[in-house]
């Protein structure tokens, strides 16, 4: 599992915005198939920027992002075939039903011939209630929307999945259900990359955990290493310490 080529790879990635802010400072990370990588950090640490760079929403100042070996800035359309995305707090199309939303994004992702039953199956898999399948999304709670969001990523059946703060705002039960699904995806061999500031869940689900501070990856630990170290303590220590740049 861990000896395969990484599906997600950030190679010396840097991003400086027009106003001078250095959002990412020489980031190097890899996510392999069957692996869950949790990126921790405070607000503004660079987690979302990383995801934005992977999805080619913004160009890097330096370095490259690779999805399945493809440079996302050189061939974005090809690269995006191999990654699913679960955004934080997406409203989706409120007037469409869950299935209609799923249908649209499935088609965008390249899956054009799926049956209604196939959609239902995916939604069942993420534990979305049956009666919500044909309900308008604007009536959904945040948890239901997140589930739908991940079902959209799942139905694409891409080898990698990017998640941006997926459990923020979810109640504990919903968050647990969500993590269960991630675990299933991991065992199916998907490479899962998740940005979060939920230390506890990160400890639970992460095969590898990275801590970002002011654009730099200051710490990376595997699950085994974390059995002996207290992640919570490390994290808070880093947060409390002096800023890295003047």
């Amino acid at each position: 599992m861990t000896n395969q080529k990484p599906i997600l790879k950030a190679d010396d990635l840097s991003k400086r915005y027009e106003d001078g802010l250095l959002a990412l400072d020489h980031l190097n990370l890899e996510v392999r198939p069957g692996e869950v990588y949790c990126l921790l950090g405070a607000n503004g640490a660079g987690k979302t920027t990383t995801i934005n760079l992977f999805l080619n929403f913004i160009p890097p100042t330096n370095g490259t992002c690779f999805i399945n070996g493809i440079d996302v800035t050189k061939d974005p359309l090809e690269a995006k075939k191999f990654v699913g995305f679960v955004s934080e707090n997406v409203m989706l199309y409120g007037n469409f039903t869950a299935r209609q939303n799923l249908d649209f994004f499935a088609k965008l992702g390249g899956k054009t011939n799926l049956t209604r039953e196939a959609y239902y199956q995916v939604m069942r898999r993420v534990s979305l209630q049956e009666n919500a399948f044909e309900q308008r999304v604007k009536t959904f709670s945040k948890g239901m929307r997140q589930k739908l969001g991940i079902s959209i990523a799942i139905i694409k059946d891409a080898p990698a999945i990017l998640l941006d703060e997926p459990t923020s705002g979810l109640d504990p039960k919903a968050a647990e259900e969500f993590l269960e699904i991630l675990g299933e995806l991991k065992s199916e061999g998907k490479a899962v990359f998740m940005s979060t500031h939920d230390i506890f869940r990160a400890k639970e689900i992460g095969d590898r955990v990275g801590i970002m501070k002011e654009g730099r990856l200051v710490l990376e630990r595997t699950r085994e290493e974390l059995q002996f170290e207290d992640l919570v303590k490390i994290y808070i220590d880093y947060m409390k310490s002096e800023p890295l740049t003047a």
Partner: protein, 424 residues
């Protein structure tokens, strides 16, 4: 991909409150406009039957133009009854409406509804296409898939345009068909052709504003600011520019007012008749004013016509310059271009009226020639409206091209803007 996105846009529109209320408004307004202007046409047609000249009468009058139901333009002034006598042309009295309120506000014809309401509707469809989807995160979700920004933009454009164009075209064609059922309203093949062209131009105009909305949406981050800018730009394009342009043109071209012109005409003919009577009396003959016969009388009638013709020619030259200048300035606004194109195609525009007046003056010359040779039965006045081809050649094509080029330009700009749009 584009097709999928377009289909999604249409489906989303059909389910949205915005679409519902806006299409409801449009449909209601269009049908009301058709009905009201149709009735107005029928009333004017009934009046025309009363003042139709009998064979041999030297009267030039056009029946109301059925296409004026859709673009009323100058049809009321073009269908006045012009009577020819030895001393020139006069307009038969009593053709103004008794209800003075008509003068206050422009006629709510199809062209007006398109120019004012449909442009706003198209803007309202376009303005939040990009910013709204960015705000609720769907744009990011879309772009995380193998679909290019060009495809997203094209899909949005296509889907929204079809959402607008389909109900609009259907309602318009239905209205036209219903009106056509009335045997008194004869459009003819040429009329139907022009009407279809009118619909195409209207669709082009709608596409332009949709494109403008999408462009501004691709340039701003918040839907709310987009809307403010668009509403104000719309108000300026539709209301301020066309009307200000004409006012400015008047400052730059010296044209005598029409009142001055009519006063001069009256002075000319009354002066000549007086001189005729004075000279006749001096020669010991009776002069019965405008009914006088003889060479002396003819000399004065000729003087009247020559002077008035010179007056008319001089005025026309200046007026043509004014019209050309005001057109040039007005055409900065696509709304003005649309009105020019629509009224000229319908045969109720300034160009057509000009041509009619020219023909009426020629008819007057022919009748006066008849009177000189003591012919009392005059040929009927005939006028052929310009063909659609002529309309296009005499400026219509410019207006259509302007709309088309602006639309394409706006689409290109939106593409460039969207490519650089920050979707985060």
């Amino acid at each position: 991909m584009t097709g999928t996105i377009a289909r999604k846009e249409i489906a989303a529109n059909l389910l949205s409150y915005k679409f519902f209320i806006v299409i409801l408004l449009t449909v209601l307004l269009l049908f009301t406009s058709f009905f009201v202007l149709y009735k107005d046409f029928k009333a004017r047609l009934a009046d025309y039957q009363l003042i139709k000249p009998k064979p041999g009468e030297p009267v030039a009058v056009l029946p109301p133009n059925p296409l004026s139901i859709f673009a009323k333009g100058l049809d009321e002034t073009m269908t006045r009854s012009f009577e020819v006598s030895r001393i020139g042309l006069s307009v038969r009295a009593g053709q103004k409406s008794g209800n003075a309120l008509f003068a206050f506000f422009p006629a709510p014809d199809f062209a007006y509804i398109v120019k004012v309401v449909l442009s706003l509707v198209a803007l309202l469809f376009g303005f939040d296409q990009i910013s709204r989807e960015r705000e609720n995160g769907v744009l990011r979700l879309m772009l995380s898939n193998p679909v290019s920004r060009a495809q997203v933009l094209a899909g949005k454009w296509l889907g929204n345009f079809l959402s607008l164009a389909a109900p609009f075209t259907l309602v318009t064609l239905l209205g036209f068909a219903l009106i056509n059922l009335d045997p008194d309203v004869r459009f003819g093949a040429s009329g139907i052709g022009r009407f279809l062209m009118l619909i195409v131009i209207a669709l082009l105009y709608i596409a332009l504003f949709l494109g403008l909305g999408i462009l501004v949406s691709a340039l701003t981050r918040r839907s709310a600011s987009t809307l403010i800018v668009l509403l104000l730009v719309w108000a300026v394009i539709v209301f301020v520019m066309p009307n200000l342009g004409t006012l400015i043109a008047r400052q730059m071209v010296d044209v005598p007012s029409v009142k001055a012109l009519s006063e001069k005409r009256q002075q000319i003919w009354t002066r000549e008749i007086l001189l005729l009577q004075v000279e006749s009396r001096a020669a010991g003959r009776r002069a019965t004013g405008t009914r006088t016969e003889g060479d002396l009388a003819q000399k004065h009638f000729d003087a009247i016509n020559t002077d008035q013709d010179r007056l008319e020619e001089d005025y026309r030259k200046k007026f043509d310059r004014l019209v050309r200048l005001s057109k040039a300035i007005n055409r900065l606004s696509p709304a003005a271009s649309f009105i020019y194109a629509a009224t000229e195609l319908a045969g109720t525009g300034i160009g057509e009226e000009n041509r009619l007046k020219y023909d009426v003056v020629r008819y007057k010359d022919a009748v006066i020639g008849d009177l000189k040779r003591e012919v009392t039965q005059h040929a009927a006045f005939t006028y052929r409206y310009r063909s659609a081809g002529q309309v296009l050649a005499e400026g219509g094509l410019f207006d259509v091209a302007e709309l088309l080029i602006l639309t394409i330009f706006l689409a290109a700009l939106s593409y460039l803007a969207f490519i650089r749009y920050d979707v985060r």
